[in-house]
C-alpha cells in the first residue's frame, strides 16, 4: 500500500494548495452549483404548491399518512453520522488518515442535518404551528407531550445540529487564521478575521484549542448514537407491525454510518477532481475509507438479518405477515433492490482492484446510497399497506410528483450548501495535514535507510 501522504510536501505548499480551492475551482464547480440551484427550484415550487393547496397533493391518504418525506428525513439524518465518525471517533483513535478528509465529512454532517430538518417542516400538515412542539412559556401553560418520540426527535436534532456546527467551527479556527493572513482584502478577509477569534498560534492557544476540541469530540459521540436511536424510536415505540422491532436503534445507527461513509466516498471523488486535491485526498486514504465502508456494510447486513430472524422466529403473526408482504407484495422490487444495493453490491469493495478505482467507486457509492434510501422507504411504506387491521390492506398508493420533487430538490439544497462551504472555507484541514506530514517525516527519521543497516 502506498503512502497516505507525501512526507516532503512543504508546509507553505499545503497552505497554497488548500487556499487555491477558495479561489479557482474547475469549471465543473459552477456547473454543479447551477444544477443544484435548479433542483432547489423544483422543490420550492412543489412546497409552495403543497403549502397553498394542502397535504393532499402529495398523494398520501388516510391509511398511508407518512411517505417519502419521513423516509428521506431519516436518510438525511443518517447521512449526518459519518462526519462524527470520521472526525470524533477516529480522532480519539488517533487514525491519522482521517486528517485530510474529516473537514468536509463534518460539513456534510451539518448540512445533511439542515436538510433533514426541512423535511420535518415539509411533512407537517400545519407547518405554521410548528413551534407548538417546543416547550416555551405561554400564557396557557400548555406543554408539548414529553412522551412522544417526535418531541425527543426535536430535542435530539436541535442538540446535534448545534453541537456539530460548534465542532465544525472550533476545528476550523487555526485554518481560518491562515486564511485571514493570506487572503487579499475584501469581505472574506473581514469574515475570516472575525471568525478566527484572534488566533495567533501561541502555545497557550494551542493547548486550550486541543482541550476544547477533544471535549466536544467526546460530547458528540454519544450524541450521534443517541440521535439516530431516537429517530429509530419513532418507529420502535409505535405498535405497527414492521416498526415495533427492538433492534431498530442499533440497526438505524449502522445504516446511518453506512450511508454516510458511502456519501463521503462520493464527495471525496468530486472534491478531489473539482478542487484538484490529488496530493491530499490520496488513493491509499480512499482505500482505508472503502474498507471502513465495507466493514460497516457487513454490520448493517448482519443487523438486517437479525431483524428478519427475530420477526420470523417471534410469535407475532402480524409482523411476520408484514415481512412476507414486503418480500412478495407490490413493494417486492424495491425490497429486493434494497437487499442487492445494501448487502450484495458492497461485496465488490472487498476486492483490492476496486478499492482505488475511482470511476467504479463513484458509481458504487451512489448506488449504495440509493439502497440505503430504499431501506428507509421500505421501513415506512409497507407498514401502512399491511398493518394490523385488514380494512387498510390497500396497496394503491404511489407518491405524487410533489413528493418526488421535494425529495429531488433536497439533494440540490444539500449540494448547494456543501459546495458553497467548500468554496468559502478550507475543505481540507491545513493544520492537521501539516501534523500528518510531520508525523510521517518523524517516523522516517527513526527508520533505518537500508534494511538490515541497524
Amino acid at each position: 500500500m502506498g503512502k497516505d501522504i507525501r512526507e516532503d510536501i512543504a508546509w507553505a505548499q499545503i497552505n497554497k494548495d488548500v487556499l487555491k480551492s477558495l479561489e479557482s475551482p474547475r469549471r465543473m464547480y459552477w456547473i454543479i452549483l447551477f444544477i443544484a440551484i435548479a433542483m432547489i427550484g423544483v422543490a420550492v415550487g412543489s412546497e409552495v404548491y403543497q403549502y397553498q393547496t394542502g397535504m393532499g397533493v402529495s398523494n398520501k391518504n388516510n391509511s398511508h399518512v407518512w411517505g417519502l418525506y419521513i423516509a428521506t428525513f431519516i436518510f438525511w439524518i443518517g447521512m449526518s453520522h459519518s462526519g462524527t465518525l470520521l472526525s470524533a471517533i477516529l480522532h480519539l483513535m488517533h487514525a491519522d488518515w482521517r486528517k485530510p478528509i474529516y473537514r468536509f465529512a463534518e460539513a456534510m454532517t451539518t448540512f445533511s442535518l439542515m436538510t433533514a430538518g426541512l423535511f420535518v417542516l415539509v411533512h407537517l400538515g400545519r407547518l405554521w404551528m410548528v413551534y407548538y412542539v417546543m416547550p416555551y412559556p405561554n400564557e396557557r401553560w400548555v406543554w408539548p407531550n414529553f412522551q412522544s418520540p417526535l418531541v425527543w426527535d426535536m430535542f435530539a436534532i436541535a442538540t446535534y445540529l448545534s453541537s456539530s456546527v460548534l465542532f465544525l467551527y472550533v476545528g476550523m479556527i487555526p485554518d481560518l487564521a491562515i486564511c485571514r493572513d493570506n487572503i487579499h482584502a475584501g469581505w472574506r478577509k473581514k469574515l475570516y478575521t472575525v471568525m478566527s477569534l484572534g488566533w495567533e498560534g501561541t502555545d497557550r492557544q494551542w493547548r486550550n484549542f486541543r482541550i476544547t476540541y477533544l471535549t466536544i469530540a467526546c460530547f458528540l459521540i454519544p450524541l450521534a448514537v443517541s440521535v439516530h436511536s431516537i429517530v429509530a424510536s419513532d418507529f420502535a415505540m409505535s405498535n405497527m407491525p414492521g416498526w415495533h422491532v427492538t433492534s431498530f436503534p442499533p440497526y438505524f445507527v449502522a445504516g446511518a454510518l453506512y450511508s454516510g461513509c458511502a456519501a463521503i466516498i462520493t464527495l471525496f471523488i468530486i472534491l478531489r477532481y473539482v478542487f484538484k486535491f490529488e496530493e491530499y485526498m490520496t488513493l491509499p486514504i480512499m482505500k482505508k475509507l472503502v474498507r471502513l465502508t465495507f466493514a460497516i456494510a457487513m454490520v448493517w447486513t448482519y443487523l438486517n438479518l437479525i431483524e428478519f430472524a427475530s420477526v420470523w422466529y417471534g410469535h407475532d403473526q402480524t409482523a411476520k405477515d408484514q415481512l412476507i408482504f414486503k418480500a412478495t407484495g407490490p413493494y417486492a422490487p424495491f425490497f429486493w433492490a434494497m437487499i442487492f444495493f445494501g448487502s450484495i453490491l458492497p461485496l465488490m469493495l472487498a476486492f483490492k482492484r476496486f478499492q482505488t478505482h475511482l470511476p467504479i467507486l463513484f458509481v458504487v457509492s451512489i448506488l449504495l446510497n440509493v439502497g440505503m434510501w430504499l431501506e428507509r422507504w421500505m421501513i415506512i411504506a409497507p407498514s401502512f399497506a399491511h398493518g394490523h387491521y385488514p380494512w387498510t390492506w390497500d396497496h394503491d398508493q404511489w407518491p405524487s410528483l410533489v413528493q418526488w420533487g421535494i425529495v429531488f430538490g433536497s439533494f440540490g439544497w444539500f449540494t448547494l450548501l456543501f459546495m458553497v462551504f467548500c468554496k468559502v472555507f478550507p475543505s481540507v484541514s491545513m493544520y492537521e495535514v501539516k501534523e500528518m506530514v510531520y508525523h510521517r517525516s518523524l517516523a522516517l527519521k527513526h527508520k533505518p535507510a537500508v534494511k538490515g543497516d541497524y
Binding site: P144, D234, N239
Partner: protein, 284 residues
Amino acid sequence: MSITNLLENWSDFRQQHPSDDRPHREYKWAMSIDLDSCTGCNACSVACYAENNLPVVGKEKFAHGHSHHWIRIERYWDNDGREFADQGAQFLPMLCQHCESAPCETVCPVGATNHTADGLNSQVYNRCVGSRYCNANCPYKARYFNWYDYPTTDNVWPEPMNQQLNPDVTVRGKGVMEKCTFCVQRLTVAKSNARSAGRSVLDGEVQTACQQVCPTGAISFGNLVDPLAKVGKQWMKQQVELNKDKQAKDAEEKAAKLRGYRILEGLRTYPSVMYLEQLRESAI
C-alpha cells in the same frame, strides 16, 4: 398549569394504564354494536356527516382515500366461490374505539389528543400541528386527516348545504387530524342539563347521531358507570370487561354462546366499543 403544578402533579399528565387505581367516577362513555342487526345500510355514516360537519370530498378524492367517514361501514366479501350479486358479505361499522390506553395519545408531539375524565379520546383541533403520528400509530386507522382546506373548497358544502352545518361543531381547516368524538357536543349539553337538575345523565337521555338513525337499533351507547344503562348491561352479560386485554370468558367453554368481543384487544388498547358477533348467514 404552572411549572410547579406540572412537577407536583406529574402523574396526572401521564397516560395511565386503565387498570391503575383511577376508576371513572361519574361517566365512562361506551358503545356496543350488534353486527347481527347491522344491515350495512350506511345510515350511521350519513348521520355522522350531517351531525359533525364532515366534508363531502367527492368521488375522486374519495377514491384517493381522502374521505372523512368517522364511522365507516366495512364490507368483507365471502370467499365461497359465488360471484357478485350472489356473493355474500359481512359488514362492520368501524369508528374511533376511544381506547382507554390509546396508542394515538402517547405519540402526539403536542398533546393534541388526550383522554378526558369521561373516558373519551378527545382531539383538540387548534392544537394539532398535523404530524399524523396518531394515525400512524392507530391500529384501527379510525383517524382522518384534512388533506385539503375543505371550508374554502367548492362543492364540499354547496349552497344552500352550508346552511345545514351544525353550529355546535367546528368546521375543520386543512392540516388537522379529526375522528369520531362520540358526539361530544351532545354529551356536553346532556351533562350540563343534568347538572342543572342536580343529577347525572340518565340512560337514553343522550344518543349519538349514528345510534339515533340506526334503523335496526344495532348501536347502543351510554354510560358504563351507570348500573341501569343498557350498554353496561350488555357488556356485563357478554362478560366483556373494560380493563382486561384478555377476557376471562375466552378461556371457558361456555364462551361459545357469548358474542361480545373487542377488536384487536390483544394490543392492550382497551377499546370502549364492544361488538356482538354475527350469527346469521352473510347478507346477499
